[in-house]
């Protein structure tokens, strides 16, 4: 199964990311160990130069990571016909034990990268490198996750067995299935949609009205981050149980990847772009509360946070719009629900 063009393409992409991040992880370790801002000897100057390298590598890795995420979804659709019983990418993911864990880690890594990039952006704004130790320690800490992701991906691709009979998204997400995906969609629409909109409204106004004082404190920040995580989970649920039905106009087809395809007008790309952007921005806005140590740092963080908040809200509205437009069109066209 390895010698398929799509599998090879994914392997090349994933190995490139892995090498790029290990290289930056290695440098991060060196920087973290002997960084002392006071001394101005030759080594310190070299380390300052190395920060540019790590920043460039990580930006590149983040972009390729997202690019590969989209390509994986599309490539799995190409591989699907070769695996009996798999009509869509979800079927391929379900065809061996490593599919879904890999997917979850990959989604998690998108946010972990975004946190690092935000830290790096803030650190560059300040002139005394306040966050250097923190961001490189953080990079070293989440580096093992990248190793796990790569291993899982390799195992997943190596164990893709054309002879395995797998189940497709119709069954994977149906209530009967016992796995995580089953329970995910077993919460019927009545619960998912109101909670989603409730969270959206809460996030919209939490900044201004309800807990104005609270959001500027550390506790407020954490709460907001947690709310964003729930928002993300519930929007994935709403995609599975509600939005996808109206894109495909078929009750059984709930695959969250298929509407990235050409025949559905690539609606998946704007939808996921807005979702990930909103969650990343909102989540980071909350997390940044934790690192408001120095007074000068707090100011730069504060105005960066307001930028983040604007982006998060606009992206969230973008997501809700692109998500529920098909439903509106369908409803007007046919005058009934599926």
């Amino acid at each position: 199964m390895i010698l398929n063009t799509w599998v090879l393409g994914l392997l090349v992409g994933q190995v490139t990311i892995f090498i790029v991040i290990s290289f930056s992880g290695f440098n991060a370790l060196r920087i973290y160990l002997n960084w002392n801002y006071a001394s101005s000897d030759e080594r310190q100057y070299l380390l300052e130069n190395k920060t540019y390298l790590v920043a460039a590598l990580m930006k590149f890795a983040m972009f390729v990571h997202l690019f590969l995420f989209a390509l994986t979804a599309l490539a799995l659709d190409e591989i699907a016909p070769m695996i009996i019983g798999a009509m869509c990418p979800v079927g391929v993911l379900a065809s061996n034990a490593y599919g879904f864990p890999f997917l979850y880690i990959k989604m998690g890594l998108v946010f972990i990268f975004s946190i690092w990039l935000v830290l790096n952006h803030l650190d560059n704004k300040m002139d005394n490198y306040p966050l250097v130790r923190l961001k490189y320690l953080y990079l070293i800490l989440f580096y093992p996750l990248v190793i796990i992701e790569t291993i899982l991906f390799l195992l997943f691709l190596f164990n893709l067995d054309p002879m395995v009979i797998t189940s497709c998204c119709g069954t994977v997400f149906s209530e009967a299935n016992s796995g995580v995906t089953g329970t995910m969609s077993s919460i019927s629409n009545i619960i998912i949609l109101p909670t989603l909109f409730g969270l959206a409204v809460l996030l919209l106004f939490c900044r201004f009205i309800i807990i104005k004082k609270l959001t500027n404190s550390v506790v407020g920040g954490i709460i907001e981050a947690v709310i964003w995580i729930f928002f993300f989970i519930f929007s994935i649920l709403s995609v599975l149980s509600f939005i996808s039905i109206y894109i495909y106009e078929m009750p059984t087809h709930r695959c969250p990847f298929c509407f990235l395809q050409q025949e559905y007008g690539f609606i998946g790309f704007p939808l996921y772009f807005f979702l990930f952007l909103a969650t990343a921005a909102g989540f980071n806005r909350g997390i940044l509360e934790l690192i408001k140590w120095e007074e000068k740092l707090a100011i730069t963080i504060a105005n960066f946070q307001s930028k983040l908040h604007k982006v998060a809200i606009i992206a969230m509205l973008g997501f809700l719009l692109t998500g529920f437009l098909p439903f509106v069109f369908y409803y007007f066209r046919t005058g009934r629900l599926i």
Binding site: I2, L3, N4, L8, I19, F23, L53
Partner: protein
């Protein structure tokens, strides 16, 4: 810095990268040519296999639901008529069409033809207009005997024309004693060439004679099942009752279609990956690594106030422009090569030594994911490789320039 300045700064970076590429023409051309060739080979593979797969999958729904073959000693042999009634009696089977077909090897032209037995009288009038053109030799009303007649594919007709047998073809086989003349009453239209290039649709009785198929025996059985859900169970039932029979369901043929090229084109691609890796190493030292003159230039830039980020982006944008331009050029080149020149060089890989082959008029099959795949295989590693040299260049110390001042 206001947003407008930031925008202008990006445009300056783009300006300066392009100027660099333009100034170092030979290095740029060297990379561009290799990159374009590499990408056009990769995209040619994707285009050909994509188009052929799409062509195949377009008609798979018309195939019989189950094909039944008799296997003896691992090889397919003729199936006897006794199975016919037994399979027809299985509930859910709509009809069983016993088929007579095989191959005929013509020594003189070293060509293999597919012979398919079919009752030509059942062809409706519409088939004759849309599907088959009359054979000019026969349009003149020459009475063709009712059994020994056939419709041939365009490739077959072309060959027969060469040996001046384009009205009746003499099938000859040493152990028959005498040859069998078959009249060619029609030729399949070129649109169906990919399917019909080597086909001879012969009257069934004549086909039996040519293929020397004893009576009461068929090549295989085509089983038509009305309810698609039933296909798997009927196939399983046939296998249980008759272990010596082999059943091929329509979905199996479909998964064969979609993976028939996947396997080998992957093999070709992995060979290419080695070439790409070697190419990247070449880039790393020759192009990525900087000549003395470039290093001095960057020293000057840093000395007059350029910051490291800017130099890093200039170098990175250089790599990006180069790889994106060669990707677009490569894809355009391979598209023209495959769809306008009918893949003149690459189709031999698919055709091999056969003398009868189609003219490879393929339908283009382009999808965004193809472009993304090509980008991942070619551009992503290239840009990854060009980051570290770019960084090495960007941190050259301006002081060195001032001190040694050469």
């Amino acid at each position: 810095m206001a947003f407008r300045n930031l925008l202008e700064r990006q445009r300056n970076i783009l300006d300066y990268s392009l100027q660099n590429l333009y100034r170092r023409k030979e290095k740029t051309l060297f990379i561009l040519v290799i990159f374009v060739l590499l990408i056009s080979v990769i995209s040619s593979i994707l285009f050909i296999t994509g188009s052929l797969t799409r062509e195949m999958l377009s008609t798979v729904s018309e195939l019989p639901e189950i094909t039944v073959q008799k296997i003896q000693g691992g090889r397919q042999t003729n199936i006897s008529a006794t199975y016919l009634s037994e399979i027809e009696s299985i509930p859910g089977v709509e009809a069983v069409d016993p088929r007579v077909w095989g191959y005929f090897y013509l020594e003189s032209l070293e060509a293999n033809f597919t012979i398919f037995g079919f009752d030509l009288d059942t062809l409706e009038e519409s088939d004759y207009e849309k599907l088959i053109t009359e054979n000019p030799k026969f349009a003149s009303g020459k009475e063709s005997n009712n059994i020994f007649k056939m419709v041939v594919g365009p490739g077959v007709y072309r060959l027969f024309k060469k040996i001046a047998m384009d009205d009746t073809f003499l099938f000859f086989n040493p152990n028959w004693g005498k040859s069998i003349p078959i009249d060619i009453i029609g030729i399949f239209k070129p649109e169906t060439e990919l399917q019909s290039v080597d086909l001879m649709l012969v009257q069934t009785e004549a086909a039996r004679k040519i293929l020397e198929l004893p009576t009461g025996q068929y090549t295989d059985l085509a089983v038509y099942v009305s309810n698609p859900e039933e296909i798997e169970n009927i196939a399983r039932k046939i296998k249980l009752h008759y272990p010596e029979l082999r059943t091929i369901t329509q979905s199996q043929i479909q998964s064969t279609y979609s993976s028939v090229f996947g396997w080998r084109s992957g093999l070709v691609l992995s060979g290419l990956l080695v070439v790409i890796a070697a190419y990247l190493v070449l880039i790393w030292d020759r192009a990525g690594g900087l000549s003395q003159e470039e290093r001095k230039e960057i020293g000057i830039l840093k000395a007059i106030g350029w910051d490291t980020d800017m130099i890093l982006s200039v170098k990175f944008i250089e790599g990006l422009i180069l790889s994106l331009m060669s990707t677009i050029l490569g894809i355009l080149l391979s598209y023209i090569h495959i769809y306008w020149f009918d893949a003149v060089g690459l189709r031999e890989v698919f055709i091999g030594w056969s003398t009868v082959y189609p003219s490879f008029k393929l339908v283009p099959h382009i999808d965004l994911k193809y472009i993304m795949l090509i980008l991942t295989i070619a551009v992503v590693p290239y840009c990854a490789v060009s980051i570290v040299p770019a960084w090495k260049a960007a941190i050259t110390d301006p002081d060195k320039i001032i001190r040694n001042g050469n």
